[in-house]
Each structure stands twice: as structure tokens, then as C-alpha cells.
Symmetry: C2
Amino acid sequence: MSLLVVGSIAFDTIQTPRGRAERVLGGSASYFSVVASHFTSPRLVGVVGEDFPEEHIATFKNHNIPLEGLERKPGNTFFWEGEYHADLNSRTTKAIQLGVFEHFTPVLPASYRDSKYVFLANSSPETQAGVLDQMDNPELVVADTMDFWIQSQKDALLKLLPRLDGLMLNDSEALLLSGETNLVRAGHAVRAMGPKFVILKKGEHGAMLFSDDGVFVVPAYPTAKVEDPTGAGDSFAGGIMACLAVDGTHLHGRLRRAMAYGTVVASLTVEDFGLRRLINTSRAEIDHRLQAYREMLSF
Amino acid sequence: MSLLVVGSIAFDTIQTPRGRAERVLGGSASYFSVVASHFTSPRLVGVVGEDFPEEHIATFKNHNIPLEGLERKPGNTFFWEGEYHADLNSRTTKAIQLGVFEHFTPVLPASYRDSKYVFLANSSPETQAGVLDQMDNPELVVADTMDFWIQSQKDALLKLLPRLDGLMLNDSEALLLSGETNLVRAGHAVRAMGPKFVILKKGEHGAMLFSDDGVFVVPAYPTAKVEDPTGAGDSFAGGIMACLAVDGTHLHGRLRRAMAYGTVVASLTVEDFGLRRLINTSRAEIDHRLQAYREMLSF
């Protein structure tokens, strides 16, 4: 089934206790689509500036990611610089230059409007709704959001939620949105706002799924080699959505298996800076780690 | 197989955002042994004061916990008062009166020295070593510890570790003891200090096991009804040790299954104040929740 992602494409400068990377390819849509490319050919919609090099275009091409939805505009590509703290669980943004992303209003290529699986990466709820308005008849729409939108555009977000099949957000954001102090109650409360299912991301502690089938909790895959957490959440989303898009079975078991795939690809992402580890992996390696993960969880 | 626990017996006054309990029965050995009583008849070694009421003695008796190792001394029973913060993940100790526990040097009844499974609940490493010195030939010894001992009696703790089969500690304590910033590396590092396996407790985020078989991670059972987290860690230990004591199969699968049982009983503990939920449960309910937990983790 066709899979569409609308999100950011960026240059990231990343400092962690394990090293530094300068102006590497990043952004939610980049992580998502490189992950998804190991499962299917994802349709990418995003914007870059005049400074975006052929080298990165080639990265997308090499991963079977069509470029029809990649808009190039006068100005600079979105730039982000961040520094992670010692425990790698929190970070400080050192610089942010939105560039061409600041006034980006995604316009889907006509041939993308029939996409069946849609991921609306983190952006304003109005922008996300604007993408949905362009879709013909999607089967499964999942959006990501963040504390900034919960605080500054809550009404627009609440209006968007009933239009979604799934919402992904961090644990702290779910507490903020729901006003709860317990994650389980928060997940149920956010689901009552409209989305058919809710996925709470807990970073190194894994994730929780709230759906018709109740609550499903997965731990993170315990990798000892955490170099750079950037993109873990978008990789997780890419693994989930790609797995759903290629898996034709009933939603129940699909969501759980998709969460497991998402967990495994996110654990790969953090093992090197930027997209490096994701580029240097294969479907075989992902499946191999999935099997190790499944064995780890059986008792 | 015989199971021994040496630990504290206390009166707890507990305030949480969900309510308050005054001078209820608490202490590591109480939680541990009431949990374990649903699986086997645990041998309890601890001390109480003259103020310890018949009602609590009856609680132990009703749970098939023999009282041979329950010492009664002049003075008051250990008293602790704590208040949990809004998210229930942290707490402030409001009062602590060690009473008869302050100078407690456990002396095992002669008939307990042949115990095969031994849990040394949190106390000074020297006290824990003193208990081990009294054992004939235990099969499996697990100890709990805490930041206070890591900071104040690190040498004694390091001397104890090679004598243990397993060590249980909180995630932050594992980071402190190892000097690592990543939990996976911390677990491996602590294990290299001597114990055959290490269990890292992560509270609402579950637990990790480090052993010859690699790393095994379990999420917490996602209960929405968290009333009082007191005793969750000791309940977890009680479920693990009791499960190991009654399960005759090879250690590999046993430890994982035991962790699952520990997780499930800990989730029951937090659903009511003090020991109330543990007293009002049954082996059938525990097994039922274990099955739900197993299904939750399969994909």
C-alpha cells in the first residue's frame, strides 16, 4: 500500500558526549523515509533550500525514495544545532534557522493524493489538517505532535485529533495534553479526544499503545551503543507506518508487530550519528534484530 | 525449595496524591514475604518492638509465614513517614525512627541456616554479609542495595558482590555504582563487579536483567490505578525469589519468568495502600494477570 510522509528535511549539527556531527542530513521526513525505504518505497513531501547538495538527493535516490514531492525553494534549508546532555535523555537547542521551512505549506503532487497510509510528522496542527484536506481517501492517518503545539495551538490540535487514526507523542506531552499525572490514564484520555489509537513514546524506556485492544507496552531494544538519539522518534514512526503499509492482516496484531519493528529500527538509529546507521543497515539486519527482540520478550 | 528473607518490618505513614494511610504494616520483609506467601511458605527474619500489634502478627500467620525468625525487642518498631510527589515517581521522607531496627544484627534460627533461596533486603553490606556467614550452603543468594550504601560503604559492598548470585538495585543506583551514563553499560559493569546476574529496577518503566544470557528487558504492567508505590520494589523481589524457589527448571528461562511474576505482583501492590492489595489477591489472580502480561508482550 502507498505510504506518504510529510515533514521536515534539515541540516543537523549534533553534539553528544560520544562525538559531534556537522550539518548532516536530518529532519523528521528524512529519518522516516530512509527507515521506511527498507520496507517499501515511501512518498516524501518536504522542502529544501538552494544549499541542499546533490549528495543528499543521491541518498534519497539510492533508497528508492521518489523525489516528486521534494520542493526546492530560494533560501536555505532548515538548520538545527543541538547538544545532548550527559545521560542523552535531554538536549539543548543551540541554534535554529527555519529557512525555507518557515513558510512551507505542503502541496501534494496530484499522484500522491491517493496515498493510503499517511504520516503527518511534527508540524502545526493547521499544516497537518491542510495536508489531510488534500487526500482522496486515506486508509490510515497518523500524526506526530509536540508540547509547542499543545501549548500554542491547542484548539487546532483538538480539532485535528478526531480526523486521525493514530496520534504519536512523547510521554511528557501526553501528560500535558491530558492534564493527567499517570501515563496509562493519560493515554486513555488522549484517545478519548478522537484518535482511534495513541502511541506514547518514552525514549529509552520504550513506548505504549492505547487502542481498542487495551494497553500494549514495549520496552526499548537495549542497545549499549547510544551515540546520537536524534531521529529515534521519527525512525520509530517510520518503522511502524512502513510495517503497517506492507502488512495486509487485521489491525489488531499489525499494530503490535509494527510497534516492535519501530522499536528495533529506532535502536539502530541511535547507534551512530545522523542517518549513518540507518543507511548502513538492511532489511535482513532489521529482521534479525526483531527476532532477538521477540526472544527477549518471551518467558 | 526453602526461601529466606532478611529485612525490615515497619510502620509506614504514607501520603500520596490519591490518599493517606496511617501507621500501616510495611517494611521490605513484610512486602516480600506476603508476596512470596502466594507461592510458598517464606522464612522471615526481622525485628519488631513492643508496640507491634497482634493484628499484624495475625497477618503473617494468615499468610502461612512462620514466625520463628520474628524477633521482638524492647523499644519501638521501625517507623517511616513519606509523602509522594504528584507523579508518584519520587517521594520525600517526612520522618524516620529506626527504633529496634537501628542495632538489629540478624541471627538466623538454627533451622533456617539450610535455606536454599536467600533474599537479603536492603540493609548495610556488612549486615548482609553477616547473614551470609550464617548460611550452610545456599543455592541462590540475591541482595538489594541503595545509594546510601553505595556512597557510605562502597568497600564493604564491593566485597559482598562476588558472594552474590544476584544484585537488585534501582537504575540511578546502578549509574552511581558503575559511573556509567547508559543503563545497558551500567548493568554490564555492575555484573562485572561479581554478581552472576544484575536486575535494574526502573519503577514505572519496568526492569532489566543482565545475565549470562544477555540483556532481558521487561516493561511494567500498565495498571491505571496507582494509589501507593510503597513496597513495589520489595514485592518485585518477592515475586522473583518465590517463583525461583518453586520452579525447578534451568536458570535461563526461570529468571525471565520470575521477572514477569515479579512485575505482575508489583503492579498489584501499587493498586492500593500498604499491603492491602497483596492481602486481597490470590495465586489465581496473579496467574491471570501474568497471562494478560504475556499476551501483551507477544507480537
